[in-house]
Amino acid sequence: MRARPLSPHWTIYRMSRYSVLTSLANRATGMVLSVGLLLLIYWLTALARGARAYAQAQAVLGSDLAKVGYAGVIAAFSYHLVAGIRHLVWDTGRGLEKTQSQRSAWAVIVAAVVLAAVSIWWAFRAREGI
């Protein structure tokens, strides 16, 4: 008896799940970066208002919560940068084949983790004013 045709097994969708996941993560990190922009503007505004105002703003900018925020923004930036470059390459019509995009999904994850780890480690070394 001939094998009956089957509907696509779920493993066939694995690539599309990766694709959805990396795309979703790009949106999520983008939203984190919008909050990061808010933080950057607050920081610049505090600096522009002078030394005394900046010292007062340290209650917010120097808090542990803010430090977690900086690490989060650096991690989000690392991912959004690498994944964004992948999207720009896709826009040129390259790298869209299934195996290529599967490979680049992993490349994005590895590169983003490495970039984030190095940046966070380097940013949080002992420095005056932290």
Partner: protein, 128 residues
């Protein structure tokens, strides 16, 4: 009551002519933000010290002030476009959608203005 199908109503009208604009500006700001973002991250991470005087003299430099101004405008614009797409995708109530889009636009313009003003104020030396 029109007996025309929705497809019939849409056919033959031609495109609105500006569909590509959002996509194009989004990519343009993305391309610009690659070097700008890397520059800002590397600069902030490698600054020898983060005390007030070091930061103000760094931001006040010609190159830093100029690039920061461009960064603030470009990042605000890119953020506005990104948030817009997310609102359009996930907010389904028409009134709430329009309100959120308008509000997001106002907030982003305000953010850009605050950022540019702050950088210029630091560069022209009033805070010290």
């Amino acid at each position: 009551m029109s007996l025309q199908t929705p497809l019939g109503k849409a056919l033959g009208l031609g495109s609105a002519g500006n569909g590509v604009h959002h996509w194009w500006v989004q990519r343009l700001t993305a391309v610009a933000l690659v070097p700008l973002g890397v520059w800002l991250l590397v600069s902030l991470v490698t600054l020898p010290s983060l005390d007030f005087v070091t930061l103000v003299s760094w931001i006040g430099g010609t190159w830093t002030a100029s690039l920061l101004t461009v960064f603030v405008i470009t990042a605000s614009w890119h953020s506005r476009l990104g948030i817009q797409v997310i609102i359009e995708d996930y907010v389904h109530d028409h009134g709430l959608k329009t309100t959120s889009l308008v509000l997001s636009g106002f907030v982003h313009v305000l953010l850009a203005a605050l950022g540019v003003f702050a950088v210029l104020r630091i560069a022209f030396g009033s805070p010290l």
